[in-house]
Every structure is written in C-alpha cells, then in structure tokens.
C-alpha cells in the first residue's frame, strides 16, 4: 500500500539518506530509528508529503502522493514534533477543529470522551495553562478519533508522556495495526512494541 522508491533527502548540502526504499502493507508497523539529526523527522515529512524529496517518490496504493494530494491527506494522520494545538483554545476545541479540518467531523461527546480517556482535566482550560505532557496528550487524543484512517505517521509519540499515557498510546498503535492499518513512527524510547520493520537511518546514510 505505502511504498517509498529511492528516496533521497539533502539538507544543508548534507545527504541524510539516499536510495531509501521500502514498502508496507496493511497491518505492518515501521519504526524509524537513528540518532539526533539523522533525518527521522525529515523522512516522516517526506512520507506525508510536507517535504519533497530531492529524488525518489512516495506512492500510496500505486499512485504518487504528489498527484493524489488531498485524497492522500484524507487517509493519513500525522502527529509531528510540534503539538499543533492552539494555546488559546481548550483541548476540546482544538481536537474537534483538528478532526473537522481533517475531514472527519466528530460530535462533542466523542471529543469529550477521547480527552477523558487520555486523562486530560475536564473544564474549559485553555491549552496554555496545561503542562507539557498534557499538551502532548491533547495532540495525541486525535488517535482515538482516527481509527478509520489507514495510515498513521507519528513522530516521537512518546516524548513528554508519563508511563500511563505512553502505555495507552502503545496500546492504540497495536490495536490499529491489528485493525489492518499501517503505522510508521519514530522514537528514541524503547516502549516494547515489536515493530515488524525497522529503518535505521544511521546505517542507511553511511
């Protein structure tokens, strides 16, 4: 379903990786590993189409993602380094807006439930008054409402989370895989999901 063919990424005239190819079917989990600055984030951004590779192509169900555009976007969930939440809105507002923009409007009770499940405090607290980890949880709560999407791309989903939240996130990823979807994630932390595939950028770049 998701294929990468001969990807190359050059940043600041340094080649991060070249000739990187993989293909993932539904139900497969790919972990991107590598040291700081080895290009994990760059790779994920290329896969979701935010960054164009210097060479090579990403294909989704056989078609180049540059041509699919919104059609591809509608099928994926990307959670990046930045939490992508607005400081001045509450977690509930943020979540419901993010889902609507992604083309899957959800009802307030579902939003409330998702936030509750991720252990966020109830009430109308703007995100700027939340702790670092709570803010991250507010971003990750989208996972609970994106079960229908066949592709998840997660950049360091476990950063800043305490053990309970990390455990929940891990369970969600595993359940999604079991559901037959594809998940690509980058992480430094060992969280005990056994990924079917691992790309180590350190060795790939050498």
């Amino acid at each position: 379903m998701l294929e990468a063919a001969g990807l190359e990424c050059v940043r600041q005239s340094r080649t991060l990786f070249t000739g990187l190819s993989f293909s993932l079917r539904g139900g497969e989990l790919l972990r991107v590993a590598g040291a700081n600055g080895s290009g994990k984030t760059s790779l994920l951004r290329i896969v979701c189409g935010l960054l164009s590779p210097t060479a090579g192509e990403v294909r989704w169900q056989g078609m180049g993602i540059q041509r699919l555009r919104e059609e591809y976007s509608r099928q994926l969930l990307y959670v990046g380094h930045a939490a992508a939440v607005k400081d001045d809105l509450t977690a509930a507002e943020n979540l419901s807006i993010a889902c609507t923009l992604a083309g899957m409007p959800v009802a307030p009770p579902a939003v409330r439930q998702a936030l509750e499940q991720y252990g966020l405090p109830p009430g109308e607290i703007p995100v700027r008054r939340l702790s670092q980890g709570q803010r991250r949880r507010a971003a990750l709560a989208r996972l609970l409402l994106s079960e229908s999407l066949p592709l998840w791309l997660l950049d360091e989903p476990f950063a800043a989370l305490d053990t309970a939240a990390a455990e929940l996130t891990r369970a969600l990823i595993e359940a999604h895989i079991a559901r037959g979807a594809t998940v690509v994630y980058a992480t430094h932390q060992e969280v005990g999901i056994e990924a079917a595939r691992i790309i180590n950028l350190e060795t790939a770049a050498a």
Partner: protein, 222 residues
C-alpha cells in the same frame, strides 16, 4: 469540504475572540494613526479636510499590512499549519477561507469605523459613502495581496521587511485608486470609474490570490 472551510473561518474568529488583540489591534491601530495626525499637525479644519482621505486610506493600508505578518506565523510556529496543509479540503479554498476570516476580523471593522473618523476630519456627508465603499471593496484586495506576501516570507530571516517590500508595490495602486475615488467625489465628480477599477482588482485578486498563496505555503513549509 464546506464543513472544513466553515470550520477554518470559525476557528480563526474564535481565536480572534480569545486573543481579542487581533481584532482590536488592527482597529485600534487604524484609529490611532488617523487620530494622531490632528495632534501632530495641529487642527486646522481646511488642512485636515484636504488630507483626510489620504490619511484614512494610508491608515487602513498600514493596519492591513501589519496584521498580515501574523496571518500564518502563529499557525506555522505551533505546527497547525502543517495540519492545515494535510487537511481534507483543497488548499486554495482553505486559504481563501483564512483570508476571509482575516478580513472579517481586521478589514471589516475598519470599514465600519471609517465614517466616525471621517466625522473627526469634518468630511462632507456624501463623501462618507464613497469612503466606506472604497474601503469595503479595497480592504479585501489588501488582505489577499498581503496573504501572498505573508506566505512567501513565512519563517524567513528578515521576514518583516521583506513582507513590506514584496507587498507594498502591489498595495500602492489600491491606495492611489482608493484615495483617488474620495478625492474625485470631493471635487464634485462621480467616482464610478475608480470604484469599478477597485472592483475589478477585487475580482482578479479573489480569482488568483488563493492559488498563489497555496503554492507559496507549500514551498515555505518545507
């Protein structure tokens, strides 16, 4: 798709409501610029009357230029712009919705408050209409042109100046024609030609700007 666009407008208005500064800064800035001049220049009614259309239009232009710097910057910094780019609706349409929200927040209030300022400068009553109308047609053009500049300079070194440098050449015709329409009316002539020209600009901008902004955003986010 419509749901997503409505949602963008709703979100930006909600944010403006929460941060209020965005609405009020643009408006307050407009009022301040227009009101400081009599303080700085000294209040001779004839002098004031003759500079009024120019001052009010310049104030509108500056206020629009300043609020544009932030059109995408906040979304860029906290990662929401990435999510917007990855959204379900075509980017051009989303951008148009954002520009609309921006205009509602920072352009429309100027149009509504302009007659009050005109009063302050002792303009004749029929001119009020021309002034408001020219601003009503002209400010969305400013918003759309400015959005292109804002998208191109997103995250760049020296973004602020560059934005002004890019946007200003395209603003100047709007200013000249907009202020010209009021001057024309003040001279007792019909300002139709100028207003029609402004409308033509608006249509052109509405047709092309969203796609230019979308292209620029895709480039800037890399």
């Amino acid at each position: 798709m419509l749901a997503a666009l409505r949602c963008i407008v709703y979100r930006d208005l909600l944010l403006a409501l929460r941060r209020r500064s965005d609405v009020a800064t643009a408006l307050l800035f407009f009022i301040i610029v227009a009101s400081l001049f009599p303080l700085g220049i000294g209040a001779e009614p004839n002098l004031l009357r003759s500079i009024a259309p120019g001052v009010i239009w310049v104030a509108a232009l500056l206020s629009s230029m300043l609020s544009l710097g932030r059109l995408f910057a906040a979304d860029y910094a906290d990662g929401t712009l990435e999510q917007i780019l990855l959204g379900a609706a075509p980017l051009g349409a989303v951008v148009a919705a954002k520009a609309l929200a921006h205009w509602l927040v920072s352009g429309l209030p100027l149009v509504l408050i302009a007659p009050v300022l005109a009063l302050q400068y002792d303009l004749a009553l029929p001119l009020f209409w021309v002034l408001s109308l020219s601003l009503l047609i002209g400010t969305p053009v400013l918003s759309m042109i400015g959005a292109i500049g804002a998208a191109l300079t997103l995250g760049l070194r020296g973004g602020g100046v560059l934005l002004s440098l890019l946007v200003l050449p395209l603003y100047v015709p709007v200013l000249i024609i907009g202020a010209g329409s009021v001057d024309m009316a003040a001279a007792g002539l019909a300002p139709d030609a100028q207003l029609l020209l402004l409308a033509a600009m608006l249509i052109t901008a509405a047709a092309f700007a969203p796609w230019a902004v979308a292209a620029a955003l895709r480039i800037s986010i890399e």
